[in-house]
């Protein structure tokens, strides 16, 4: 099951060129890009691992793309996303976030139904890949 989180996630995967253009847009708006990865892409997991520090002093997409490629090489079977942070007063938050790498095989999530008091139905999601230890969830390498 293909995970749809962040911007563009219902589109086919972006090519590197398209990623570069999106990063260019973010940099033009004055947003700072950062790269994060995880192998626990539960929708409620908002804290992914940081790949290096946020890049506050870049002017060009080539630098960010270089880091994206480095992260892909190191974590081929992880989800990787690019975040663009707007430091403008009043925003001071993420303005754009999109996935740039996903594992080849995505088993997806199981919907758990739990019977609560008085026939209350509670729902939760469990990742099929989540049983294995962190780092081995979507493939053998790391």
């Amino acid at each position: 099951m293909r995970i749809t989180q962040g911007t563009f996630s219902f589109l086919p995967d972006l090519t590197d060129e398209e990623i570069g253009l999106q990063i260019d847009y973010a940099l033009r708006q004055g947003w700072a890009c950062s790269i994060e990865f995880t192998d626990d892409p539960h929708p409620r997991n908002t804290y992914w691992e940081m790949w290096g520090l946020p890049m506050f002093d870049l002017h060009d997409a080539a630098g960010v793309l270089q880091e994206v490629k480095a992260c892909r090489a190191a974590r081929p079977n992880h989800y990787i996303k690019v975040n663009a942070f707007d430091s403008t007063r009043g925003f001071e938050t993420m303005r754009l976030s999109f996935i740039v790498n996903r594992p080849a095989d995505e088993p997806g999530f199981r919907l758990n139904r739990e019977e609560g008091w008085g026939r209350t139905q509670r729902y939760s999601l469990t990742s099929y890949a989540g049983d294995r230890p962190a780092g081995e969830r979507y493939g053998a390498t790391r």
Binding site: M55, D57, L58, H59, D60, A61, A62, G63, Q66, E67
Partner: protein, 337 residues
């Protein structure tokens, strides 16, 4: 300037040889030249920078070459991305940094770099202090410069032959690798004094072969230095009168022969000291209860302000050791740009 003449002829012939529509084997160089706006940048370069004729000629050649390269590309004549890395060598104060800034603009107008920005670094920004610190530091700087120009001032400090465990070598390797692999993302300009750059290249042959353009900055002569001085004063809203202009050219004639002469930078320092003396003089006359000071007096550097310089002091021909007092010229720092 043959290139200039060629470009002029191009714009002249452009009207009588109109481009046939749908003709793929011809390209309008003059239109390319106009559209890039490169003429303005080059004219500005001519106007703003005094002297430096060989440098200007070389920049024109590079610009013309890149333009022709663009034209060839549009006709499908493959030639590969040109190597644009450069080396500026010359004595202190000859305008290497200033020209590097202009170079960024030239390359940007021609579309060879995506952004008109220049990241200026020295050894400190590239080389780390302990093992494993250098590579991330250098990569960080390279990342910051992506899409523009990386200007490495006093590049020969990167290589310290006296210390074989110096981390500079690591920075050089990463730099060379990026210069080779990401030629369309980044243009590297090295700068430094000529003799030391020569030693640097001898010990790092990889660098010399990866740098296409070696540009040497000549020293300024007295007339050029005087013009530079006048331009500096004009931007600071000061002026010379006939006497003080004579005094300053006298000053230059003496100063050029002294050790540690740093071309335009020495001129700037001399002017700064003259301004101090002028302020002091104005203040003293004001305290003596003279008439209020007017604009003319505030902007004028008199001959006395300049002739008070220690360069005119016959008793102290050596200027290596600064003495106390506001008229003491500090020896210009050769080490720094």
């Amino acid at each position: 300037m043959t290139v200039d003449a060629t470009l002029d002829r191009l714009s002249a012939t452009q009207t009588d040889a109109p481009e046939a529509p749908g003709e793929p084997s011809r390209v309008d160089l003059a239109a390319l030249y106009r559209d890039s706006g490169i003429g303005d940048v080059l004219a500005e370069l001519d106007r703003d920078l005094v002297g430096l004729v060989p440098v200007k000629t070389r920049i024109r050649e590079i610009a013309a070459h890149l333009l022709v390269e663009r034209a060839r590309e549009s006709l499908g004549l493959a030639s590969g991305a040109p190597t644009l890395h450069m080396c500026f060598s010359g004595n202190p104060g000859t305008g290497k940094t200033t020209v590097a800034l202009r170079m960024a603009e030239v390359l940007h107008r021609l579309g060879y770099i995506r952004r008109n920005h220049l990241v200026s670094v020295t050894r400190d920004d590239l080389v780390g202090q302990y093992i494993g610190h250098t590579a991330p530091k250098t990569r960080d700087v390279l990342k910051r410069a992506m899409g523009g120009v990386l200007f490495i001032d006093e590049a020969y400090y990167l290589y310290r032959p006296e210390n074989e465990r110096d981390y500079g070598q690591e920075a050089i390797e990463i730099l060379l690798q990026t210069m080779e692999n990401q030629r369309d993302d980044l243009v590297v300009i090295l700068a430094g004094y000529e003799s030391r750059m020569e030693t640097f290249f001898q010990s790092n042959p990889g660098f010399r072969s990866r740098i296409a353009h070696h540009i040497t900055f000549p020293d300024y002569n007295e007339a050029e230095l005087l013009e530079i001085a006048e331009r500096m004063l004009a931007t600071m809203h000061y002026r010379f009168d006939a006497d003080s202009r004579l005094a300053f050219s006298d000053y230059l004639a003496r100063r050029i022969r002294l050790p540690n002469f740093a071309n335009a930078r020495s001129v700037r320092n001399a002017l700064d000291r003259a301004r101090l003396r002028q302020a002091n003089r104005l203040f003293e006359t004001a305290l003596q209860g003279r008439a209020p000071t007017d604009t003319a007096a505030l902007t004028l550097l008199t001959a006395a302000d300049i002739r008070a310089s220690r360069v005119f002091d016959e008793r102290a021909p050596e200027l290596d050791f600064p003495r106390a007092g506001h008229d003491t010229p500090p020896p210009d720092r050769i080490q720094n740009t």
